[in-house]
Amino acid sequence: MTKIHPLSKITAHVLLILAALVVLLPIYWMVISAVEPNADILSTVVHWLPTHFEPGNFQKALRSQPFGRYFLNSFVMSAGIVVCQLITSSLAAYALVFIPMQRKRSWLFLILMAMMIPMQATFIPVYLILSKVHLINTYFGLVLPFAGSAFGIFLLRQGFVSIPRDLVHAARIDGASEWRILTSIVLPNSKPMLLTLVLLNFVFHYNDLFWPLISTNTTNMRVIPVALSYFLSQEAGQTLQWNLMMAADLVSILPVLLLFLIGQRYLVKGIMGSAIKG
């Protein structure tokens, strides 16, 4: 780690810059296409800089559909899932870490099983169950299937085990209830893990297409990814407005990109942590 040959250093930088360019090029292309006239976008020769600017694209794109409503739906759904998971996961993780219990291994195994079953394999029964109780095409229908999360429990459990047990024991001897210990000792001491859960969850569900696509069927319940996915198919047959599509695309990913840049530390820790645990 100490001394690296200067030539190797340069090679490493070159490789990294190349990789970064491959990652950035599509994003750059989206940005410049978003501010160009549609006619300029597709051509036979490469053009790296826009020749004409159309800043009005953003306004046009956002007015073409009720994007305000879509953003609202996305935020309500993602925030709802985050809040539910914070409550259910911290309660369950607390029970698994701090309450002496029998059959702890069976509980962990059960939760691990839940973690490996994706919505993509069970969405038909979930749809049938929710339509029985008339929750299809509602916020509840979007949120409830993710209100309990095995991943959330595991993540918080990892944060909770690093809290000194003596702290919990002392509080118990003083007569504090389990609920009190959770809210006044455990949660305040695991803020980074809670933040990780919030960020990972928000980004994951804001980005999720699959379940909202299945469980909503009217324009006013659409979330951002569903709206974007309709952009292509809606305009089929006409000349595709690539510039407007890219403008909408750019605006749609801004919230998650911002969250990522602000909370990078926590997101990264959560992802690395999930891997180390295995």
Binding site: C84, T88, V203, P225
Partner: protein
């Protein structure tokens, strides 16, 4: 006597709070994961079209239908192709990038941020961007290929290019994620071991090959399993870019389930394919548990 009753009182109190604390999470997990899993197995034994017929018990005939349906075979093969591409391309590149950004070079953090960024972009958004890049008439990919006098590939509208385009997007999206997984693993490589090897005169390559890689085995294994699980769930890119076409050639397992279930309302074949997906996932999880358990024991 007094202590034992006090003791059992305490145990009872613990048991009550244990159930109370686990109940909310377990309620939702049971209703939305375990019950649907059993339900989906049951549905796969029925002949049921949501639009007309009453459900009828047909045993395993939905599974027979699947294995005679060429669309299902294509979907299964495509899902495995995505897995193979991730293991053979995304994982090695991710590992390389992890090693490079772990050298302590100036700007490593910036590189990491950029390389990881695609992972937080919605797949739908990436799919749209790449639909533009892969556009057959004047998209950037064809413009660049034009420099090499390759022209006129209809990426999203012809075989096998549509599936290749889907795979390219998937690699672009997830390579940074695997870089992070490996970076996590690299932090676990004992520094003393590396130093010792270097003091003994081992070249950088030999240190990498004989010290770093063996200590990374658990992360590599984890990444392989996760990448297969992730690949088997490929849907968004396909839905946005190709709709499974042309002629079903870029259909994946989940897209097949979606199409059968929500396009044609054939609940039988759709749920049978779901069960196949669940079985593959169960096998993978079992292998993962077995092997990670062995490693834990060895340590």
């Amino acid at each position: 006597m007094l202590t034992t009753s006090k003791e059992s009182n305490k145990i009872r109190k613990y048991r009550i709070s244990q159930w109370a604390f686990l109940a909310p999470a377990m309620f939702f997990i049971t209703v939305f994961i375990f019950v649907p899993t059993i339900y989906v197995i049951y549905l796969s034994l029925l002949n049921w079209n949501l639009l007309d017929s009453q459900p009828r018990f047909v045993g395993l005939s939905n599974y027979l239908y699947l294995f005679q349906d060429s669309n299902f075979q294509t979907a299964l093969v495509n899902s495995l192709l995505v897995s193979a591409a991730m293991i053979l391309v995304a994982l090695p590149i991710g590992l390389g990038l992890a090693v490079l950004t772990d050298l302590g070079l100036r700007g490593s953090k910036v590189y990491r941020t950029i390389l990881f960024a695609p992972y937080v972009i919605p797949l739908v958004a990436s799919g749209l961007i790449w639909s533009l890049l892969f556009n057959g008439t004047g998209g950037l990919v064809n413009q660049l290929l034009g420099v090499f006098r390759i022209s006129g590939i209809d990426w999203l509208g012809s075989e096998p290019f549509a599936m290749i385009a889907v795979i390219v997007v998937t690699i672009w999206q997830f390579t940074g994620y695997y870089m992070l997984i490996f970076l996590g693993g690299l932090q676990g490589v004992p520094l003393a071991l590396k130093e010792a090897a270097r003091v003994d005169g081992a070249s950088a390559w030999r240190v990498f090959r004989y010290v770093t890689i063996p200590s990374l085995t658990p992360s590599i294994f984890f990444a392989v399993i996760v990448s297969i699980i992730q690949s088997l769930q490929t849907f968004d890119q396909v839905y946005v870019m190709t709709s499974g076409g042309p002629a079903g050639s870029s259909t994946t397992l989940v897209y097949y389930i979606f199409e059968q279930g929500f396009g044609m309302f054939n609940i039988g074949p759709a749920t049978a394919a779901s069960v196949v997906l669940l079985l593959i996932l169960a096998i993978l999880t079992f292998i993962q548990l077995r092997i990670s358990h062995r490693w834990v024991v060895e340590e």
